[in-house]
Symmetry: C2
Subunit: 202 residues, 2 copies
Amino acid sequence: MPNRPVLDFWYEFASPYSCLSALRIEKLAEEADVALRWRPFLLGPIFAAQGWNSSPFAIYPNKGRYMWRDTARRGRRLGIEMLKPENFPQNSLAAARLALAGREEGWTPAFSRAVFRAQFCEGRNIADEVVLGAALKQAGGEPGAAIPLSRSEEVKGRLRAEIEYARSIGIFGAPFFVTGDGEPFWGDDRLEEALGWARDGR
Amino acid sequence: MPNRPVLDFWYEFASPYSCLSALRIEKLAEEADVALRWRPFLLGPIFAAQGWNSSPFAIYPNKGRYMWRDTARRGRRLGIEMLKPENFPQNSLAAARLALAGREEGWTPAFSRAVFRAQFCEGRNIADEVVLGAALKQAGGEPGAAIPLSRSEEVKGRLRAEIEYARSIGIFGAPFFVTGDGEPFWGDDRLEEALGWARDGR
């Protein structure tokens, strides 16, 4: 399919709203005939640069309480049972590196969905290698090869470069969508608008 | 119309997303057969309590740049030309007190829309009494009576009580919608969902 418009989907594994987008984006992108680029990154360094040492949902309790209510409500409409994992926000470094290690073999999207489900539907800890290995297998990856690759300098550098690029184009939260002509959309609630813009150029 | 469901519409005059909601809520509420309570308040004291001395759109430049782009984009879809006033965020104290002074005479909604338009469509400063007087006249209020009333202890106390109540139910941003059964919705992009919940109870 030549000339299919492209949408960059930037997501952070520790972000509940990124989870909602990850679990519904594929079908919507197909309907809009838009090609997706799954771009996992970390918000930690970007938040740190603006003086936050954690997620705003942890720093501001009212915002956090509201977010869990809102994501549960939105999840129910989509048929997704969202829950608050005991441990929040989770350390998403290993998951993000693994997701980037899957780029060549193509299991990044399926792996990412499995990681989000493990964390926000089953309450598992995604810093745990057992959890990540199970997600990898679900996605058709080979833990014995993928986990060492995810720890290579090559993949570590890939993640650093993605974070640096995200920062350079002004990304400050997740999920974040960027169309081929550079139009930015922040938040799961802008997903439909972003796909429409990618398709129609406005 | 007995038993019409009610939706509380909490808004801050300095908030661009509150402007978008104020300019479109009336028609949507009519269609949903929901009665609105217009509840102007101030975010300043609520932000101060969580350590912010200004709007997050002023404190975090990337977030601010994105917000102006997003509100302009959403405004265009609604036929509203939004602009960034030279002075942002503006001091909304006098506007909020005036809006609360109009409760008995019923011009609060029309006055509020006029104030939002003056600020975010014409770039005027809503701390300016001339601007407020013009909005009052547009809304059918009497500046000679309303302005002194807005400075009375009665109306000042009314605003303090509204802010205190908003804080007590966990409101942390604007616009904010609360249904009769206490379901909270934050942001202009939740307006349709809030009206649906008010109407259907879910």
